[in-house]
C-alpha cells in the first residue's frame, strides 16, 4: 500500500553527530534573476501537486460535509445544511457505530498485540543474537507485501472448506465470513505485517541509542528488564511517539484487507470502507461520505501534529 505511514523516524534519537548543518544554508537574495526563477519553480511545482491533490480536497471534504450536495448537480446547487449529515450518520446510518467500534478494536489490538511484540522482538534482536539477520528477514518479509495480497494469502488458512485452520482444529468456521470471528481473523493477518514493521522502526531507533548508556546500567547492576524500562524506553521517547502515531494512523485508515474480503460489510465495517462505499458504491451518499471523511481528518490531524512536532524538532 503506497500510502503507508512512513517510518520517517526522523533523526529523532540523537547519535553522537554533533551539530547539524543548519547555519550553512544561504539566503535567497544573493541569487540572480534566472536562478531565482528556477528556485521558485523547483518549489512551486511540487507544492502545487501537494496542495491541489491533497490539501484542497481535504478542505473540500470538510466543506462538503456541511452541504446536501449529491455529487450530480452543478456546484451552484450546493445547499448548506449545517451538521445534518453528522447527525444523520450518527443516528440513521446503522453501520456507522459498528465501524467506529471496529476501528477502536483495531487500534487497541494493533497496539497491545503486534506493536508490543514488535518492540519486544526489536529489543531482543538488537542484542548480539546468533542468526539475528535471519530472524529480522523472516519478520519483516510480510512488510513488502500489500495488505490486499495478505488477505489472499491468509484465505488459504482461513477458508471454511479447504483452509488449514479448520483442518487443524476440526472446525467448520468461515473465518472471513462469520461476523463473530472475522474481525479477529483479519486482525491476525494484519498483525502479521504490522509486527515486522514496528520491529524494523524500533530496531533502527535502538541502533541510535548510545551503547555506553546500557553499559553503565549494566555496571550499576541493573537487570535487562529494568534497564529497558528505566533507560532505553525514556531515551527512545521520540521513537515511541512516532510508533504511537503510526499505529493510530494505520488503524484509522485500515481499508485494503476488509475491502478485498467483502468490501467492509458483515462484521468488517470500518470507517474508511464506509466512506468509500458511500462514494463509489451502489447506494452512494456524498454527504455521509464527506461527514465520515471529515471525522477521519479530524482524528488524524491531532496525531499528525504530534508526528510533525517530533520529526521537525531538530530542524528548528
Amino acid at each position: 500500500m503506497a500510502y503507508e505511514t512512513p517510518g520517517g523516524a526522523g533523526g529523532t534519537v540523537r547519535g553522537g553527530r554533533g551539530t547539524r548543518a543548519g547555519g550553512r544554508a544561504r539566503p535567497l537574495h544573493r541569487l540572480t534573476g534566472a536562478d531565482r526563477a528556477v528556485v521558485a519553480a523547483m518549489v512551486v511545482v511540487p507544492t502545487l501537486f501537494v496542495v491541489l491533490l491533497v490539501w484542497l480536497p481535504a478542505l473540500a471534504s470538510v466543506l462538503l460535509s456541511f452541504t446536501s450536495w449529491n455529487g450530480i448537480g452543478g456546484l451552484d446547487e450546493i445547499e448548506w445544511i449545517g451538521v445534518t449529515n453528522y447527525v444523520d450518520v450518527a443516528t440513521i446510518y446503522p453501520p456507522f457505530w459498528p465501524a467506529v467500534q471496529h476501528n477502536a478494536i483495531w487500534l487497541v489490538f494493533l497496539f497491545l498485540g503486534p506493536t508490543v511484540l514488535g518492540v519486544f522482538l526489536a529489543v531482543l534482536l538488537d542484542k548480539e543474537v546468533r542468526g539475528s539477520r535471519f530472524y529480522q528477514t523472516a519478520l519483516y518479509m510480510p512488510v513488502v507485501l500489500s495488505l490486499a495480497l495478505i488477505g489472499f494469502v491468509w484465505q488459504l488458512i482461513y477458508s471454511r472448506d479447504q483452509g488449514l485452520l479448520n483442518a487443524a482444529l476440526g472446525t467448520q468456521i468461515d473465518w472471513y465470513g462469520d461476523p463473530g470471528v472475522n474481525l479477529w481473523a483479519v486482525l491476525v493477518a494484519t498483525g502479521w505485517r504490522h509486527t515486522g514493521y514496528i520491529m524494523l522502526l524500533y530496531l533502527a531507533g535502538l541502533k541510535g541509542v548510545d551503547h555506553s548508556l546500557r553499559e553503565a546500567a549494566a555496571v550499576d547492576g541493573s537487570g535487562e528488564v529494568s534497564t529497558f524500562f528505566r533507560i532505553i524506553l525514556p531515551v527512545m521517547r521520540p521513537i515511541n511517539l512516532i510508533v504511537i502515531v503510526v499505529v493510530v494512523i494505520e488503524s484509522l485508515r485500515a481499508f485494503d484487507l476488509v475491502w478485498v474480503i467483502n468490501r467492509g460489510r458483515n462484521g468488517l465495517e470500518l470507517i474508511a470502507a464506509l466512506v468509500t462505499s458511500n462514494v463509489v458504491g451502489e447506494a452512494s451518499r456524498i454527504g455521509f461520505g464527506s461527514a465520515m471523511a471529515t471525522i477521519m481528518l479530524l482524528i488524524s490531524s491531532v496525531f499528525i501534529a504530534i508526528y510533525l512536532r517530533v520529526v521537525l524538532r531538530e530542524e528548528r
Partner: protein
C-alpha cells in the same frame, strides 16, 4: 551513529558475557527457541501458499492438504492466463515507473531548495509536505473523485476521456501522496553534504539548476536508490486509489486486480496460491535482492545521513 549494535567492540562483548555467564546460557537457549518459533510462524503463511501453488487441485482435494504429492507447475500457467497477469503487470509498470521517477524528481527539487537556501517558510513547507503523506486517503476521496470526473482528457491519453479511470490521474495522486516523505528524507540527506562543494561551483558561475543536477544529485544517489526501492514497492502495492479511480478491469494494476481474481479462482485454492505468489514475486525479488535499500529507505530518517 557513534556505535552500532551489530558490531560492538570485542572487549565489551566479552565482559558482558562474563558478567552474566550463568543466566545467559539457559536464557540463550530459551531466546533462540523463541526466535526460531516466531520466525517459522512468520514464514509459514507465505510458505504455505508457495507450497500449495505447486500442487494439483485434483490431488489435494482427494488427499487433503496435509499430504505429499501431486506436484505440478500447471497452476502457474493457468493462473497467468485466467488472471490476465500479462496485462495487469504491464498496467502496474505503466503506473509505477513514471510515478516513482516523478516523485523522486519533484521531491529532490524541493529538498534541494529547502536544504540549500534558508527561507522563512522552510519548516512550514516541509510540514505541509510531510503531513500530506499521513492523511487518510479515504478522507480526500469525495472531492478527488468528483474533480477527476469533471476533468476531460483527450482519448489518446485516457480511454475514459476523463481523469477518472486514467493512468495519468492515478500517477498524479500517487506522486502527491508520496512526495512528502521523500522530500523529508532527501532534504535531511542533502543537509549533511558539505557546503564547500557549492562554493567552487558558484565561482565558476554554475547556475542553480546545474549545481542541483550535476553536484547534488550524484551525491544523494544512495538515498535516491533506497527511496526508489521503497517507493516502487509502495506504489506497486497501492490498492485504494487504483481500486476507486480505475473502473475498467483491463486497466487495473496487479494489486487491485486481486479484488476481481477471487471470482475467477473461486474454489481452486491451489490456483489462488499460484496467483498470490505471482503477485508477490516482484516485491519478493526486490526484497531479497535489495533488502538493504528497502530497510534503509524505511528507516532513513533515523540515521540522518
Amino acid at each position: 551513529m557513534s556505535t552500532t549494535a551489530t558490531a560492538p567492540p570485542a572487549s565489551t562483548t566479552r565482559s558482558a558475557d562474563q558478567r552474566r555467564h550463568k543466566p545467559l546460557r539457559s536464557g540463550h537457549v530459551v531466546l533462540q527457541a523463541f526466535l526460531i518459533l516466531v520466525a517459522i510462524g512468520w514464514l509459514f503463511p507465505l510458505g504455505w501458499a508457495v507450497l500449495n501453488s505447486f500442487r494439483d487441485y485434483a490431488y489435494t482435494s482427494v488427499n487433503g492438504y496435509v499430504s505429499m504429492g501431486g506436484w505440478t507447475l500447471d497452476n502457474y500457467i493457468e493462473a497467468w492466463e485466467r488472471g490476465e497477469f500479462g496485462r495487469s503487470f504491464l498496467n502496474s509498470a505503466i503506473i509505477t515507473v513514471p510515478a516513482v521517477l516523478l516523485t523522486l524528481f519533484l521531491a529532490s527539487c524541493t529538498a534541494f531548495v529547502l536544504s540549500r537556501f534558508s527561507y522563512r517558510f522552510n519548516l512550514t513547507l516541509l510540514g505541509v509536505f510531510l503531513a500530506a503523506n499521513l492523511l487518510p486517503p479515504q478522507s480526500l476521496l469525495v472531492p478527488v473523485f468528483q474533480a477527476y470526473n469533471e476533468i476531460p482528457l483527450p482519448p489518446w491519453l485516457s480511454s475514459s476521456e476523463s481523469m477518472l479511470g486514467s493512468f495519468l490521474g492515478l500517477i498524479l495522486i500517487n506522486v502527491a501522496f508520496q512526495m512528502g516523505f521523500c522530500t523529508f528524507v532527501l532534504s535531511n540527506y542533502m543537509k549533511t553534504l558539505p557546503f564547500e562543494i557549492y562554493e567552487s561551483a558558484q565561482i565558476d558561475g554554475a547556475s542553480v539548476f546545474r549545481q542541483f543536477w550535476q553536484l547534488t544529485m550524484p551525491l544523494v544517489r544512495p538515498a535516491l536508490a533506497a527511496l526508489a526501492v521503497l517507493q516502487t514497492t509502495w506504489i506497486y502495492n497501492e490498492f485504494f486509489w487504483a481500486t476507486v479511480l480505475i473502473q475498467d478491469f483491463d486497466k487495473l494494476p496487479v494489486t487491485s486486480s486481486l479484488n476481481n481474481l477471487r471470482g475467477q479462482f473461486f474454489t481452486d485454492y491451489n490456483l489462488l496460491s499460484a496467483g498470490s505468489v505471482l503477485v508477490a514475486l516482484p516485491v519478493l525479488i526486490v526484497f531479497f535482492l535489495l533488502q538493504k535499500q528497502f530497510v534503509s529507505g524505511l528507516t532513513l530518517g533515523s540515521t540522518k545521513g
